[in-house]
Structures are given as structure tokens and as C-alpha cells.
């Protein structure tokens, strides 16, 4: 790719990114304490089947009668498809347990290790043996 074309490509990407404004900003694994795994019980507010990473927006009781919203970042559809997930595997209102690594900056963003559905089904973050 020559230089002028790569600029056009980047401009196109930025335009698209602005048009589809994300719910949370984070990305690389290095934003998370990957060797710490916590868990949260909550209700799915939204499930976004997007590249490069998926997003599970989770509503969690704060223990004081209120609710807080967490953005749980999942792996790419490419990987999750082979681990038993799908575009429709989660829907708003589903009660789930999420195992996650917390963001290093303390924001309410986590990186998904596993999601357990109300019926006990477990969705791991990688295909078996991967």
C-alpha cells in the first residue's frame, strides 16, 4: 500500500469509528490485570457482536439499592464463535455471572474470562484446546 492510499484508508477508518461510537474505550490486554479474576452477577443490558472485540454491557446491583453499569470486553467474534458463542447467545434481560479481569485504571470495565448463563451453561473465552 502506498502512502497516499494508506492515509485514505486511515481517514476512512476514523470516519467509520466516529459514526459507530463505542460504549467504552479500551483495548489491548495491557489495560487489564489479566491475572486477577473477579466475578460479577448482573443483568445483560446489551450484547455487541463487534470486531475487534465484543462488548457485554452489564447492569449490576451496587449493594446500596442502586445499580451500576459495567462494560465487559470480550474476545473477537472469530474466536468466540469457535468457543460456543454467537451473535444471539446473550440478550437484554438475561441474568449472567461474568468472570473478568479488572481494568488497571479502576474504571468499570472488565475483560471477560467466562460468562455463565442462568441455565448453568458456561461460555469460555477460547475454544477448547486453543
Amino acid at each position: 500500500m502506498n502512502a497516499p492510499r494508506s492515509y485514505l484508508f486511515v481517514i476512512a477508518q476514523l470516519t467509520l469509528a466516529l459514526a459507530v461510537r463505542p460504549v467504552a474505550a479500551h483495548h489491548s490486554n495491557v489495560g487489564f490485570a489479566v491475572e486477577t479474576v473477579l466475578n460479577a452477577n448482573g443483568v445483560v443490558k446489551a450484547w455487541q457482536w463487534t470486531n475487534p472485540h465484543t462488548w457485554l454491557i452489564l447492569t449490576v446491583d451496587d449493594g446500596k439499592g442502586g445499580q451500576v453499569e459495567w462494560a465487559m470486553e470480550g474476545r473477537a467474534p472469530s474466536v468466540l464463535l469457535r468457543a460456543g458463542w454467537s451473535r444471539n447467545v446473550l440478550k437484554a434481560g438475561d441474568k449472567v455471572t461474568v468472570h473478568y479481569s479488572p481494568s488497571k485504571d479502576g474504571s468499570k470495565v472488565g475483560m471477560i474470562a467466562r460468562v455463565t448463563l442462568a441455565d448453568g451453561r458456561v461460555l469460555p473465552n477460547a475454544p477448547p484446546g486453543d
Binding site: P22, H27, N29, E35, W55, A76, S101, N125
Partner: protein, 275 residues
């Protein structure tokens, strides 16, 4: 009568011509070396390698525990991904860096430990580049013709082309370094020997190990066993590396759907998530 008397002679003449053609074709095949067909979809075997000790930096998560026996609860996961910030130092088999480039690595490590994604080019949807892309973390599709082999990485939809038609890199190619570089290859028996030049200096060798614009990559690619493709990689860089670094990647060929189908990876879809 005329027809009946001439037919057998025509048939036998055709048969002789066909036989001669077959002998010539078979002879030509047996004298040229066999070229294996690498075409197909592959998944990497042990793609994360030594990532857990800090030498590697895969772009995303890591294995969850295997499914337990029926009726047994799953143990809780202990991590979401291999540690990829260098906080445990460099692994013993990581490339040996010159002091200047070790300092660069340490600076990147510091940024990563602090939680910044600034150094993660793949997370910014940029191509992983050579040789990192040959880790093929998610999957690889190989498309082979007589004159060219194309390697496609599901992660970030990254592509490289290896020219087999004898062309060589020109000064214009060297003046225009790219993520995948310029690759030429030739066959040595069942092994494809590939040399890659004209690489950008802002990608990583593996993990987040930096390199200079002088990096070159030499590969020997073959079927190590039926269905298992092996890439023996040697990375040279007189500025960044104390000595050439060698690694071996292996990939298992997928035999049917859905595993032999790569999914679209439209990374730009979520580019705005990056900070």
C-alpha cells in the same frame, strides 16, 4: 468397406499418440521435484508459546479451563489472557537485543505495565507485520498458485504475498517498506524457502520486541507431517539483535466446516474503542 478398413488403423494411430503423450507427461513429472500444495485453512498449534513468562504478547485472551466431567463444577478461571506487559522480564528464548533496543523494549514494557495500549499496534487495527503475523493467532488461510503463495491472517485480515516467479526486490521496493515486507520464495524439494525484506521498523518481532529497518526474515516452510505445516523462521537484524533469532511455528490444517472457514475480521468496526 472403406470405413471399416481404415478405422482400426486410425484408432491404433491415436492410441500410439496418446501413449507417447502420457509417457512424455509422466516423464516430465517424475524428473521435476514434487511441489506440495500448502493451500488450505490452518489453526496455530500453541500460538502463545512462552507468552506467559513475558516474552510474548498475544493480542487477546487465553484458554479457559477445559470442560469438566459431567456434573462437576468448573474451577474458577485464574487469568483472562497471558501476561503481555513484560513485568516478569524477557524469557530466555526471546530475541537477544542490543542495549539500544533493550532500552526501547523496557520503555514499552513500562508503558504497558502502566496500562497504556499505546504500544499495541495490533489493537489499533494495524497489521501485525512480519514475522509476528506468522503466529497466526486466530487462523491462517494459504492460497497457492505456481507463481505466488498468499498467506492470510484472520487476525486483522492481514495479508502477505510470496512471489515464486523469480522476481527480485528492486530499489523502489526497498524504498517503500511495508508491514508484510517483500517476500520471494523458491522450492528446495518439498520445502519452500522464503526471504523477506523491505520491512517497516515500527512492528514487533514477537510480543513487543522492537527491531530496526535492517531486519530481514528467512523461512523454511514444509509439511512436518501430514496436515501439519511448519515454518522455521530466522530473523536477522544487525542493529537490534545480538545474533539472529530462530523460532518455529506450526499449524494444523482444518479438514472441514466450520473450522476450515475463517470469519471476517473487520477491525475498523471497533477502532473507536481504542485508547
Amino acid at each position: 468397406m472403406f470405413i471399416w478398413s481404415s478405422l482400426p488403423r486410425s484408432v491404433s494411430a491415436i492410441a500410439v499418440i496418446v501413449a507417447i503423450a502420457l509417457v512424455v507427461m509422466l516423464g516430465a513429472q517424475s524428473t521435476s521435484s514434487p511441489r506440495p500444495d500448502f493451500s488450505g485453512v490452518y489453526r496455530p498449534i500453541n500460538p502463545f508459546g512462552n507468552a506467559a513468562v513475558g516474552g510474548g504478547a498475544p493480542p487477546a485472551g487465553t484458554p479457559a479451563p477445559a470442560a469438566p466431567a459431567p456434573g462437576q463444577p468448573l474451577p474458577p478461571p485464574t487469568r483472562t489472557a497471558p501476561l503481555s506487559d513484560g513485568s516478569r522480564g524477557r524469557s530466555a528464548d526471546a530475541p537477544q537485543l542490543t542495549p539500544t533496543y533493550l532500552a526501547k523494549w523496557q520503555a514499552i514494557s513500562k508503558s504497558r505495565i502502566a496500562g497504556s495500549s499505546e504500544s499495541d499496534k495490533v489493537a489499533q487495527c494495524l497489521p501485525p507485520g512480519m514475522p509476528l503475523m506468522m503466529s497466526m493467532f486466530y487462523g491462517m488461510e494459504v492460497m497457492q498458485t505456481r507463481d505466488k503463495i498468499t498467506f492470510f491472517s484472520e487476525l486483522n485480515d492481514a495479508l502477505r504475498r510470496v512471489y515464486l516467479d523469480g522476481r527480485k526486490p528492486t530499489p523502489a521496493i526497498f524504498d517503500d517498506p511495508t508491514y508484510a515486507g517483500f517476500s520471494t520464495g523458491s522450492w528446495e524439494g518439498d520445502t519452500l524457502v522464503v526471504d523477506t525484506v523491505a520491512l517497516r521498523d515500527d512492528t514487533y518481532i514477537e510480543g513487543f520486541t522492537p527491531h530496526s529497518e535492517q531486519m530481514t526474515v528467512h523461512e523454511r516452510i514444509r509439511f512436518a507431517s501430514p496436515g501439519v505445516l511448519e515454518d522455521r523462521i530466522v530473523v536477522s537484524d544487525p542493529k537490534a539483535l545480538v545474533k539472529p533469532w530462530q523460532t518455529v511455528k506450526t499449524y494444523r490444517k482444518m479438514t472441514g466446516p466450520p473450522d476450515d472457514q475463517l470469519r471476517e475480521f473487520a477491525c475498523a468496526e471497533g477502532l473507536g474503542h481504542v485508547r
